[in-house]
Symmetry: C2
DNA sequence: CCCTGTTGTAACAGTAATCGTTACGATGAC
DNA sequence: GTCATCGTAACGATTACTGTTACAACAGGG
């Protein structure tokens, strides 16, 4: 599977805005963020648009436009970001319904679903343990 | 992301073989398993081929050919199956290297990697808690 | 020795998601 | 009115998964 970097880029964008604002600027442009993340401004705008819907970021239009945080970095967990970009489930059941006449075919869906739910819960629990403030601290410590 | 059902199908195949063998048969054919999983025999053979490399299954060729388990269902965890089919990482870093001149661009890779490692570890820990015997028990209990 | 059923594997099409890119209208401070 | 930026549609390239067809390799039974 071509692993997806959406969470990485989204965290990058928010962290960048947070640091930029702490240095006294009001808003950050998608152009600036894209330069730091080495991607295209549209990719940043698309992602920040989803983060805005989730209440994590906001934007101003017109001249002097750009992006800002709604909450402080310390109050945004990676789980918040993960849920904002609504990734599909990590695992899927059968593409086509298995044979219901077969014991295994009939019962394996619910059985695997229960496991997958627990796995996703563990994944979310782990993402919730890190805030963007933690990420920024790591970044500045390494610099 | 188009979630992938490889783990589901692999677990289905192994569980099916396990139950079939307990009922007194020596080997199961990819055709039989494919019928239960409602997919194509080649899909099953491809997956079982990977599971054989990992030492979880084996096959016989020629007439009276088919697939069998190498270990008992109770000694195969979903983590074993997961690792056997070698899924790519759940999360990826930036597709293109971020700007190393930027503090955030320079430090965010290692910071996110550390988090992703912990998340994957949690995911694996959770998968390791369930054996195919557990899955089969759930299936038979629901029937 | 031939027949037969099954595995092993290559090859290809269809689907879907991500990523990058171009293009252009909408907005709002100056 | 100008201009920088957002908002968003549209397209192509890439990648992975899934299903399918095709066929050679194999090995047991007659």
């Amino acid at each position: 599977m071509s692993a997806n970097s959406r969470l990485t880029i989204a965290a990058h964008a928010l962290t960048w805005i947070g640091l930029y604002q702490r240095r006294g600027h009001e808003v950050a442009t998608s152009e600036q963020i894209a330069t730091s993340a080495n991607t295209n401004p549209v990719v940043i705008r698309r992602l920040l648009g989803e983060l805005r819907k989730a209440g994590l970021a906001d934007s101003r239009r017109g001249a002097g436009a750009g992006w800002m945080l709604v909450r402080d970095l310390a109050e945004i967990t990676l789980l918040d970001v993960y849920q904002a970009i609504e990734p599909g489930p990590v695992f899927a059941l059968h593409p086509a319904t298995p044979d219901p006449e077969c014991v295994v075919g009939h019962g394996i869906g619910p059985a695997m679903s229960a496991v997958y739910d627990k796995v996703e819960a563990a994944l979310r629990r782990e993402l919730a343990r890190t805030t963007l403030e933690d990420v920024l601290r790591d970044i500045l410590k390494a610099a």
